[in-house]
Symmetry: C2
Subunit: 456 residues, 2 copies
Amino acid sequence: MDIEIKKILLDHKEYADKQVTIKGWVRNNRAQKEFGFIDLNDGTAFESVQVVYEDKQLENFREVAKYNVGSALTITGRVVLTPKMKQPFEVKAETIVLEGDSQEDYPIQPKRHTREFLRENAHLRPRTNLFNAVFRVRSVVSFAIHKFFQERNFVYLHSPIITASDAEGAGEMFQVTTLGNTKVEEGHKNDFFGKKANLSVSGQLQAEAFALAFKNVYTFGPTFRAEKSNTSRHASEFWMIEPEIAFADIHDDIQLAEDMIKYTIKDLFEQCASELTFFNKFVEKGLIEKLKNVLDSSFKRITHKEATDILVKNNDQFTIKAEVGEDLATEHEKFLTKYFNGPVFVIDWPKDIKAFYMRMNDDLKTVAAMDLLVPGAGELLGGSQREERLDMLEKRMKEMNVHDEDLWWYKELRKYGGNKHSGYGLGLERMIMYVTGVDNIRDVIPFPRTPKNCEF
Amino acid sequence: MDIEIKKILLDHKEYADKQVTIKGWVRNNRAQKEFGFIDLNDGTAFESVQVVYEDKQLENFREVAKYNVGSALTITGRVVLTPKMKQPFEVKAETIVLEGDSQEDYPIQPKRHTREFLRENAHLRPRTNLFNAVFRVRSVVSFAIHKFFQERNFVYLHSPIITASDAEGAGEMFQVTTLGNTKVEEGHKNDFFGKKANLSVSGQLQAEAFALAFKNVYTFGPTFRAEKSNTSRHASEFWMIEPEIAFADIHDDIQLAEDMIKYTIKDLFEQCASELTFFNKFVEKGLIEKLKNVLDSSFKRITHKEATDILVKNNDQFTIKAEVGEDLATEHEKFLTKYFNGPVFVIDWPKDIKAFYMRMNDDLKTVAAMDLLVPGAGELLGGSQREERLDMLEKRMKEMNVHDEDLWWYKELRKYGGNKHSGYGLGLERMIMYVTGVDNIRDVIPFPRTPKNCEF
């Protein structure tokens, strides 16, 4: 019977003394004269299974003993419980068939490799413990986020990737063209879309259009930044989740974000216990406690003014001095999460450091924006209530020099039943880094894109 | 109590005579002297709710009577069962509050609009019955596909959008650049990624790398074609689902595809009964029967040779004459699904009309490829077993003039435990068109991109 290793692991007593057929790749092969051990991993679980093979049992014992790490095998054998060992069972091989051999220079040997080396072998690195765990967690977290919104009857919206507007002014954009060897700037009229086209930095504006029809919607898709910043927290291509909710103010928005974060972490504990244990041991000590604390805490909510008041009193601890009305530096974010010993929503930000579409508060100085700061990672997500008053929106667009010819439709949303609505954006990679402890964004993206790096 | 209209609809007897607060947008407002009717839709369900309001009850009766279509309202009232009417209940308004007014020139009036007009108002069209139904179905189908794979322990992989290789040779690609006003072709070294970069046409090759680590994986993301074909079935930007399974041959691949299609349609019947009834009545008569037939049928499997033999015998019926060894035209695909009265997998295609990575059959003339043809829509998905033998792969790459310097890593997968594996690609839009009956791809994408069209 063909069976996934995950299924045996979940219920190994059920399989005691039964014959199973497992198919996977050799992580390690240690042969002695009359017997040997293979660690076989089939990718369905974090754990490998130890297979014992013996000369007296296998016709091809001598060949098996030479199989290189990385080889693909089909192994039929019996499950033997080993209650005194570290692994609860092993498989005693009856037949071993080579499905795909591996050459001796296989780069992923059973030893420690640097993260840099593994990035250069991004096509093979999911075969290591670390990346097996990271990319399964990425998959599980992605699906948990979908479940969270779908269970709440949100409509999943595919916002466009190619766009003609740099709406948010969120940074440099990649241009999309088919002009090839003619001058791009001169030829927009002749280009594929008849105008300048870019890769989207956010699906929010389009999500707003859908929220004003479906009430509750979310996007889940790739977004792009063409900034030449080579940091461990920035990639040129990354995935964002952007819910948008109508008839909802900034406080509803905050509650949704808190519920989503907790739901996702809870689901992760249920689905990926082995992976979290591994990260806790080898990547970030205290990770599990950190995540449990998030589940148990009620997220603090303070205004930007309250936050900076606290920071100013502690300015002797900062390289960059905090100031009321100014943006928060990373060290300030860290201080605040320590100060409150848990996640903190900072709301009501000075209008001048936030985007044009955020709703003006009655003080005419701050906007109904929110950032969620979490211990260890700083800003995890950001959002706002949207300006639904057309006159206020147009004023802000003018002040902030936003080209409005591309946004006629966005303004129209305010003319036709444009009521109160809010939303936020979560960077998937930030979330994966937070829940795994992996500190470089290049190590949570299957094939990362950064300046001068577009291999694979 | 704030409540979604969907919840009242699901359980309207529970809410009989109870007070509810609903929030949504006016689809229609018909006022008489002493009372009026508002059709309110809140986007959580296909159906609107009829609200009755009376002068004697409402202080603001005169204003309410003038609210334009499209206005956003909060309505508190009592649920009254109306067993003799078409709708099972209505809401008798106690208070009506205007949350966002709508101007008189609101484009989406309660009358029939052309699809072309609605495309020009893509920001407002989800407020119509048709697009409310289409985009909810798109969301439900997307999630059903995720559920199908996640329940089977597949790992969801985000394959890269920006890529340096035109691996499949699948057609013209969009170029991604930050060079702006310098000549793009001359400047690849100076461009953002230090080389020519394009928008991906498929995540398959990267999915293969992950399948050879995780066994079963899938992608779900946007893909791009820069072909200037303005047809009702082609868009420049569309979403693909690409599962890839290791230790699996073409027959396992076919079984997976059949199971996925059936699972998705079954889920759709459970989640979107109202929407399917609407499509069946107004978009494609016989749709529901067509989809039920798919659920009940076992998909036929024939070779390309068998298919063309049948077609050649019926060549008097075709404009394009069928030939053994040649590709199938749309009319041939339609004939075959009629001939077998249901979905048909065509396998073992002539190598010269298929991609380089498909596995050569023992006859050295055909490859282990499969296309699924469905009644009404022709090709719904296509896939293949992949060539895992390095020497055969390299021979095919040479014959088909595939640049292999970009694909060193893809070839390496064959050197290191590269065993039998297979996969397929499903175009999400094709699937949505098939299950809704909507015949233009522009009408199943929230904000479609086609040549000379990049609005919103």
